[in-house]
Symmetry: C2
Subunit: 332 residues, 2 copies
C-alpha cells in the first residue's frame, strides 16, 4: 500500500480498475473495427492506442464501482465516453489545425480532413450504439444531452474565442461544454447505473463538472507556461490560434488602452508579429493573470473534492479525491 | 381526388401529411435553436429552410400513419431523421468541397469548415436527444445502427471512389451506407413504433432500402446527364470530384486498355484536362453505361414497389408506391 500511495492518483486508479480497463480496451478495439471501411481503424489507431490516460473512462468505472455496481454496463459506458472523446479530438483536429496532439502528429496531418470528419462521425455513432445496449433510458438521456452540450460549447468557442468582450462567465460556459460536460456525464452515469440515491448522483455530477473545469483551466494555463515535452503542446499554441482563454481574459479585463489594442490586433484581428507571444506573456505577468488563473483552478479542484467527500467511504472515492489535487498539481 | 392525383407523389404525400409535417417543422425549429451558440441557427437555417422536399421525414410519417400509429413520436422520429440527414449534408460539404447544394451556396462557403463540422455534430446530438425521448429501445437501436452504417459508407467511399477496382458490389455497399441506411431506418421505425408484425416491419425496411438505392443511382446518373437548373448540381461534378459512380463503374468494366488509362488518369490520379468530361460522356455512351444504370435504377424502384405492395391497403401506401416510380421518373 505504501508503494501504491507513491504512485500518482491516475496510476492508482488504473491499477485498482485494471480488470475493468482491460475490458474497456477490448471493447474499444472490437467496436472500432469496421469490416467495410479499413481506413477507420487506420485513422483511429494512433489516437486510441496512444490512449492518453483513459481518464474519462476511468471516471465512469470508478464511479460505478464505488457505488457498488456489479453489472456489465459500466464497461460499455466507459467505452462510450472514450469514443465520444476521441470523436471530439478528431473533429477538433479539423477545426483547430493544431499541429500536435498528445505529442504525435494529429490525424489530419496523417490523413485528410475528410477522413477525420467521417471517422469522428463513425465513432460518435459507435458511442450511441454502445450506450443503447445498456437499455438505460436515463443514461441515454444524460449522454445525449452531454453530446449536445459539447457541440454547443465548441460552436460557442468559435465566436467567443476571438472576441475581447468574452468574459469569465462565457469562458466558463465554453469550458463546461467542451470539457466538463463529458467529465460530469462520465461520473453521473456511474451512479445512475448503480441505482444510487439522487443526492449521490448529484454529488458525482458536481465532482465531474468541477474536475472538468479545473482540468481545462490547467490546460489553458499550461499553454502559456508549460513545457512542450511534458504537455505535448507548444507554449503559445492558444495565442497563435487566437484563442481567448482565462489568463488572457483576466489580463484583458485589467488592460489599459495600449494593451487592449495589442490584444485586439493579435487575438481579434489575428495580425501577429515576432515578439508578440513574449509581449503577451509579459502582460499576463504584469497583471498577475497566471497566478489568478491558478487560484481559480485550485478553487474548482476544491469544489470537486468537497463534492466527492459527501459520498460513502471507499478506496476509489479517495483516489478520485486525490485525482482532483493531481489535476492542479501540474501547475504547482 | 382527380386534382390530387395530378400532383406529383411527394406533393400528395406532403398534402396528406400536412398536419404532421407542420409539427415536424415546428419541432425542428425548436430543437435547432441554441440559447448559447447563435451561430448554430445561422449555419443551419439555409439548409433547414431550403428544406429539400422533407422526403425522409415524410417516409417516417407515412410509414407510421399507414401502420395506424396514433401516438406523438412519429413526429420526433421524423425530425430525428431530418437532423441526421442535415448533419450529414454539413459534413459532406466539408468533405466534398462541393460548390452547390440544393441550388444554394454550401454552408462551408458561407461559413467555414469549423462551423460546418461542429454544427453538424450539434445536429447529430440533437437527433439522438429526440430519439431518446421516444423511450423505444428498438427504435434507438435501428437509428444508432443507421448512423454507424452511414459513417462507414462515407468512409468506404473515400477509398473506393477513386479506385478503379471498385465494382458494383462495393458501390452498392457505399450507397446502402451513404443513402439507403437512412431511408430504410426512416420507414422501419414507423412500423416499429406502431407495433406492427415483423413481416410488415421487414417490408417497410425493404421498401426504404430499395427506394434509397434507386434514389442514389438516379442521383449519380443525373450527374452525367441532368440539367443543373433542375437538379441544383452541375453536370460532371462527380467526374471532377473523382467519384467512381455506377455509370463509370459500368464503363470501366467494358473498357479497353486505352480507355482504362483514361479513367485511371482522370479518376485515380485526378489529372484532368479540358475535354475530359466530354470524352468521359462519350465513353459512357459507347458502352451503354447510362442506359444500363437506368435499368438498374428502375429495377430497384420495382423492388421498392413489390415490398410496399405486401402491406395492408392504405392511401399512404399507394402514395409510397407511386413515389418509387417518381424517383426514377426523373431519368425518363
Amino acid at each position: 500500500m505504501a508503494l501504491d500511495n507513491a504512485k500518482r492518483p491516475h496510476e492508482r486508479l488504473a491499477a485498482a480498475l485494471a480488470g475493468d480497463l482491460a475490458e474497456v480496451n477490448a471493447l474499444i478495439a472490437t467496436r472500432m473495427a469496421s469490416e467495410h471501411a479499413p481506413r477507420i481503424p487506420e485513422v483511429t489507431a494512433h489516437l486510441v492506442e496512444a490512449g492518453g490516460k483513459r481518464l474519462r473512462p476511468m471516471l465512469t468505472l470508478a464511479s460505478a464501482r464505488m457505488c457498488g455496481y456489479g453489472g456489465p454496463y459500466h464497461v460499455h459506458l466507459a467505452a462510450t465516453v472514450e469514443f465520444i472523446h476521441t470523436a471530439t479530438l478528431l473533429h477538433d483536429d479539423v477545426v483547430d489545425e493544431s499541429a500536435q496532439r498528445r505529442g504525435r502528429p494529429t490525424a489530419n496531418l496523417l490523413w485528410d480532413n475528410k477522413s477525420s470528419v467521417l471517422t469522428g462521425d463513425y465513432l460518435f455513432a459507435r458511442a450511441f450504439q454502445l450506450m443503447v445496449e445498456t437499455e438505460n433510458l436515463r443514461v441515454l438521456n444524460i449522454l445525449s444531452n452531454a453530446a449536445a452540450t459539447i457541440a454547443e460549447g465548441e460552436v460557442l468557442q468559435l465566436t467567443a474565442a476571438q472576441d475581447l468582450r468574452t468574459d469569465e462567465s462565457v469562458y466558463l460556459q465554453v469550458v463546461r461544454g467542451k470539457t466538463a460536460a463529458l467529465f460530469s456525464a462520465a461520473t453521473e452515469v456511474g451512479g445512475v447505473i448503480a441505482g444510487r440515491p439522487e443526492t449521490e448522483i448529484r454529488a458525482l455530477f458536481d465532482y465531474g463538472d468541477a474536475l472538468g473545469i479545473a482540468f481545462q483551466i490547467v490546460d489553458d494555463l499550461l499553454d502559456y507556461g508549460g513545457d512542450a515535452a511534458a504537455t505535448g503542446k507548444n507554449v503559445g499554441d492558444d495565442f497563435r490560434e487566437r484563442k481567448l482563454t482565462l489568463p488572457v481574459i483576466k489580463a484583458v479585463a485589467l488592460a489599459d488602452d495600449e494593451e487592449r489594442a495589442f490584444w485586439s490586433r493579435t487575438i481579434e484581428k489575428g495580425k501577429q508579429e515576432d515578439g508578440d507571444l513574449e509581449h503577451a506573456l509579459a502582460l499576463l505577468a504584469k497583471h498577475g493573470a497566471m497566478e489568478a488563473t491558478r487560484v481559480d483552478a485550485i478553487a474548482w479542484a476544491e469544489k470537486a473534492k468537497t463534492a466527492i467527500k459527501t459520498l460513502p467511504s471507499h478506496d476509489l472515492r479517495d483516489m478520485l479525491h486525490d485525482l482532483a489535487d493531481y489535476v492542479v498539481a501540474r501547475i504547482n
